[in-house]
């Protein structure tokens, strides 16, 4: 499990984090902080995914893989099926064909809870935040899988449930520090400006301590400064915690800057796969974005 620790300068407190592997992980991320990203084996692979809604073919025979600790971008014109792809990985949609393999286990279709338990978290293009709750509560929902107290313990609160709540509150506060949204923690999310809501969305996903983080257009609708902040957060997450990032993004400069490899989709089909440089030179990709000249 990936450890959530305070930003680089503060000391690590692995005893507050779940799992004995956490302490080891925390120690090993120090080598990652020197700037050398260790891209590992294939952690997630989709094979032959096809998705149809009635007559509309959203995805046709998509296959690609994602390596551990890398930043993988999915790009393509609007309507190419990028969000649908993420939805398949998450279990929101069930593809008609194909399979998804995560850490060696293959599934024909994913169940949302299973996926969350396996350590895959995501943000949404349209910000699926819980509008009726505060920032703190929204991010706390991300800790839900780890909160084990039963109904009776919670009803009484005093004792086990209170301790568990406090423990997870501490973890969430570290994320709030990381994302620099301390001043807003008690504000209902509906009242926050768009850029801050995006950060809360990210925070909620981070609270799950994911191994793989699926980001659906995390920088949509942001200005240059906000994009810089968000890029910094994404790279920090990848650097410090080793989280694998799968990123849908439209801003080419961001994609070329921060990703290790890129998949290109167009009309539900894969038209490019490789490093940013390779993809940039791919004639199919160029014509998909710019149109062919006759």
């Amino acid at each position: 499990m990936t450890a959530i620790v305070t930003p680089a300068s503060a000391p690590v407190r692995p005893e507050l984090v779940e799992g004995p592997a956490a302490a080891a992980q925390a120690a090993s991320t120090s080598s990652a902080r020197t700037g050398l990203r260790r891209v590992g084996e294939v952690i997630l692979e989709v094979r032959g995914i096809s998705l149809r809604f009635g007559g509309v073919k959203a995805l046709t025979d998509i296959s690609f893989d994602v390596r551990e600790h890398e930043v993988r971008a999915i790009i393509g014109p609007n309507g190419a099926g990028k969000s649908s792809m993420l939805n398949c990985i998450n279990g929101v949609y069930t593809p008609q064909d194909g399979s998804i393999t995560f850490r060696g286990k293959t599934f024909k279709h994913m169940n949302s809870r299973q996926v969350a338990e396996m350590g895959v978290a995501r943000t949404f293009q349209n910000l699926a935040l819980f509008k009726g709750m505060s920032v703190l509560d929204n991010i706390m929902t991300g800790r839900n899988l780890r909160m084990k107290s039963n109904l009776f313990q919670q009803a009484i609160r005093w004792g086990a449930a209170e301790r568990e709540e406090t423990r997870h509150r501490e973890a969430v506060e570290r994320i709030i520090d990381f994302l620099e949204i301390q001043a807003y923690r008690k504000t209902p999310v509906g009242r926050l400006p768009y850029g801050l809501q995006k950060r809360v969305d990210l925070g909620r996903a981070l609270a799950m301590e994911p191994q793989v983080l699926l980001l659906d257009e995390p920088m949509a609708g942001m200005n240059v400064e906000e994009k810089q902040d968000m890029s910094r957060f994404i790279l920090d997450v990848n650097d410090e915690y080793g989280t694998t990032i799968v990123l849908i993004e439209h801003d080419m400069s961001v994609v070329m800057d921060i990703s290790d490899r890129v998949v290109v989709l167009d009309y539900g089909k894969k038209i490019g796969d490789g490093t940013p440089d390779e993809v940039r030179r791919n004639p199919d990709v160029i014509s998909a974005y710019l149109g062919t000249s006759h």
Binding site: F130, K131, Q154, I156
Partner: protein, 354 residues
């Protein structure tokens, strides 16, 4: 100036998480409890207990239960009356058929039976939402209406479905006079309010609210919609069932199925809407409002010297309820509870405007 948070720093998460983090709030609640427990029993006239305070307490409890389902988990239910009925009749059966059954045990077991029925009728909610669920809960309401009228076993073979209980006592202390009944109900209300508040601020409460706000995102975080909805139905029905048992045993003494008809369901729904969806305190506001309003309407004309006949008064009550529901839904969907908290926020800044 009085309602300042200045100087009240929290140094532990635990103190930040408490129910009333502001000192003035804690003082106010303490005073209110002292007033309710110590002062009212001595000062209030008997009529007040019977007509207002006891119904208020019991219906607040029912509204509390309903609020958990509708306000916190976003599942609409028009069958609350049915669950109250199940609680009441089940408690009756336990009390009457088992010799020496303690009263509190009967009431709680009545609640448990309501839980079972509630979960059963909550199962449709897993596949259907909002508007369709309303019709499904109507099925519960009418079915239960019929069951307690026609199935003789439930009512100890009474032909009209009406039953009665007498001689209530707890550990030898009789629950007979209005003051005793009031304190008995008050104890239940305080205990359940505390338990409910703890649940909604725990992780199950957040699960409920997540399902209410956006169930797809909730599923992606790993929340199981099935578990969340069924626990909401279960907890809600339990509280509503106990309230129903209290209503029959303590307030009415003897009752028939009509006491828990669809009008009761609508009444409770109105309490929750007007009082504030998703707010424990709102349940109390709503109950107070719905109980006091008809009495006001009955008596106000006399105070002003203009007599209205009772039929007209009841029509006017309907009209005002209906208009108020629409008003609140448009202007303040979070009900009186939101108006209250907005007022408190303004009070914090007073005398400054912002």
């Amino acid at each position: 100036m009085l309602y300042r948070e200045n100087g009240q720093f929290k140094t532990t998460y635990r103190s930040d998480q408490q129910v009333f983090p502001i000192l003035q709030d804690r003082v106010a609640i303490g005073l209110l409890l002292a007033f309710a427990i110590v002062f009212v029993p001595f000062a209030a006239p008997e009529y007040l207990f019977r007509a207002i305070l006891i119904p208020f307490l019991i219906l607040s409890l029912a509204a509390l239960g309903l609020n958990i389902l509708v306000g916190y988990c976003g599942q609409i239910s028009l069958g609350t009356g049915a669950f109250m009925a199940v609680g009441a009749y089940a408690a009756y059966n336990f009390q009457v058929r088992i010799d020496g059954m303690p009263l509190i045990a009967s009431l709680l077991l009545g609640g448990l039976c309501a839980t079972v029925v509630g979960v059963l009728f909550g199962i449709p909610s897993l596949r259907i939402k909002g508007l369709y669920l309303a019709v499904a809960t109507l099925a519960a309401q009418f079915f239960v209406d019929w069951a307690f009228l026609r199935i003789r076993w439930f009512t100890n073979n009474s032909s009209s479905g009406s039953v009665n209980v007498a001689g209530l006592q707890v550990f030898g202390i009789p629950i007979d006079t209005p003051v005793q009944k009031y304190l008995f109900c008050l104890a239940f209300v305080i205990v359940f309010a505390v338990l409910a508040k703890n649940l909604v601020r725990g992780h199950i409460g957040r699960e409920w609210m997540a399902i209410r706000d956006m169930d797809v995102a909730a599923a992606v975080i790993g929340i199981r919609p099935v578990y969340a909805k069924l626990t909401a139905f279960a907890v809600s029905s339990f509280i509503v069932g106990v309230a129903g048992a209290l209503w029959g045993f303590v307030h009415l003494g003897s009752w028939e199925p009509a006491a828990f008809s669809i009008d009761r369901s609508f009444q409770l729904l109105f309490m929750v809407i007007i009082g504030g969806l998703g707010s424990i305190m709102g349940s109390f506001f709503g109950a107070a409002f719905i109980i006091v309003l008809p009495i006001l309407l009955d008596n106000l004309p006399y105070w002003f010297g203009i007599p209205i006949d009772t039929a007209l008064a009841s029509h006017l009550t309907f009209m005002i309820f209906g208009a108020l529901i629409v008003f609140f839904l448009i202007v303040e969907p979070h009900g009186i509870a939101r108006l209250w908290s907005t007022a408190k926020e303004k009070l914090r800044l007073w005398p400054f405007p912002h």
